[in-house]
Amino acid sequence: MSTYYDPKDLGKFGEIAEFQPALAEKFFSWYGDVFAEGALTQREKSLIALAVAHAVQCPYCIDAYSTDSLQKGATEEMMMEAVHVAAAIRGGASLVHGVMMMNKVKEVSM
């Protein structure tokens, strides 16, 4: 293993079945259903996936859902707004814990 991340590995995702076929089959079948057109459109789902990919900072997911969002007809503006949503939630998640910090400070302060 010369590197932790190789773009070619994305194409081998399906090979996780080699070590545990039954669970992989369930996962991929469920995964396919999740992204099918439903109450949310495929484009909306792809943009959510793109935002989550940035929140979890998964390079494979960013690769896959940048392409997929474009293929589903999303624009660059939509995609960057989705990344800002992820960033806002990440930033907000840190900041809202500031209240916890303040609570503790007030608890132990005179």
């Binding site: 057109e37 459109t41 474009l70 589903k72 007809g73 624009t75």
Partner: protein, 351 residues
């Protein structure tokens, strides 16, 4: 309007040569390891690929165009002078008169730039056949002499099929040239005013979407919804259906793929997305493509790669349905473009 590019032909580029393109398709960047299209088709029981009886005569009346789009598979542009003569058009009409081919699909270039275009449409119409025209929209507003085209089309019930790769100017102009989107909206308003794309008129205006890069087209129904919403809300224009077409790895789109470093990956994407159900319905099975010089091909893409029909009936002047029906369709690596994902044809998604 500014051109997005110039033709490969004009630039004297290697890729202007069909044999050079085929060589890239066989031996270009990392594609040698990809399975041949024939190999991929065989398990579906479709090899050799056989035609059904022809239902559509797709006639390329010339390579001249007022636009020069970055992805053009015809390498069309204002500098191209190859044009179909009235004599060749007459040979097409003779074939229609003695066969039951129901539809004539006129393409180019901008087909309207052929000086005999309107005569040809009238003659096909007189034979009672359906006429489709691949109209790039901007031609209608490019010169006062074309401004009455919507009326001309409406009077003959011509089915208008027009390219619009996106519902905004930024993306459309990137592929088709500066000002193309605004001109296209103006042309659509003129078509709508004649009843095109408007419910109940019976006049059909379809739009063609093709991806703006090394991407597969998305799901047709969902894209159509979005196009209709934005074009109606922001521009007050209407159309009937959105047709999704995959970009073929030939000509100017091939040039883009190579120059952007996407070629190998794009071919791999097409191969991985091979769909046997789409292969079953490919358009070459019910279409005969006629070149500007009357040569016969299995499709417009084979025409641009100079791969003629594998039949002794090779020219419109010697058109023989029986001979053509017994031919095997000529396939090569570019055919992966029509069988990827939901499939692609001049009529859109195949599955």
């Amino acid at each position: 309007m500014s051109q997005a590019t110039t033709s490969l032909h004009r630039r004297g580029a290697d890729l202007a040569n069909a044999a050079f393109q085929l060589n890239v398709l066989h031996h270009g960047d990392s594609v040698e390891n990809l399975p041949s299209f024939a190999e991929k088709l065989r398990p579906s029981g479709l090899m050799p690929l056989r035609p059904l009886s022809p239902e559509i005569l797709q006639v390329n009346v010339g390579k001249m165009c007022n636009q020069a789009c970055k992805h053009c598979h015809v390498d069309a542009g204002p500098d191209r002078t190859e044009i179909m003569t009235r004599e060749t058009m007459q040979q097409c009409l003779d074939v229609l008169a003695r066969t039951d081919i129901g539809t004539v699909d006129l393409t180019g270039g901008a087909p309207e730039m052929n000086p005999d275009f309107r005569w040809f449409v009238d003659e096909i119409h007189a034979l009672g056949r359906k006429v489709m025209v691949r109209c790039n929209l901007t031609i209608i507003v490019s010169n006062p002499k074309y401004r009455d085209l919507p009326k001309f089309y409406a009077e003959r019930g011509v089915h208008v099929v027009s390219s619009l790769p996106f519902y905004d100017a930024k993306h459309t102009d990137r592929q088709r040239g500066g000002g193309v989107f605004d001109d296209s909206m103006e042309a659509m308003r003129l078509l709508n005013a004649e009843g095109y794309g408007v419910g109940g008129s019976g006049l059909v205006l379809d739009l063609v979407y093709n991806p703006l890069g090394a991407l597969l087209p998305g799901p047709q129904a969902s894209l159509e919804k979005e196009f209709k919403r934005v074009l109606s809300d922001k521009h007050g224009v209407a159309f009937n259906s959105l047709i999704c077409i995959t970009n073929m790895p030939i000509s100017r789109f091939l040039e883009y793929l190579i120059d952007s470093g996407n070629y190998g990956r794009y071919m791999e994407t097409l191969v991985n997305a091979f769909n046997p159900a789409a292969a079953q319905n490919v358009m070459c099975r019910n279409t005969i493509s006629v070149g500007w010089d009357g040569q016969l091909y299995d499709c417009d893409f084979n025409q641009m790669l100079e791969l003629p029909v594998a039949s002794s009936s090779k020219h419109i002047s010697t058109f023989d349905v029986e001979k053509l029906n017994s031919r095997a369709i000529v396939i090569d690596q570019h055919c992966y473009g029509c069988t990827a994902g939901a499939g692609s044809s001049c009529g859109g998604q195949l599955t």
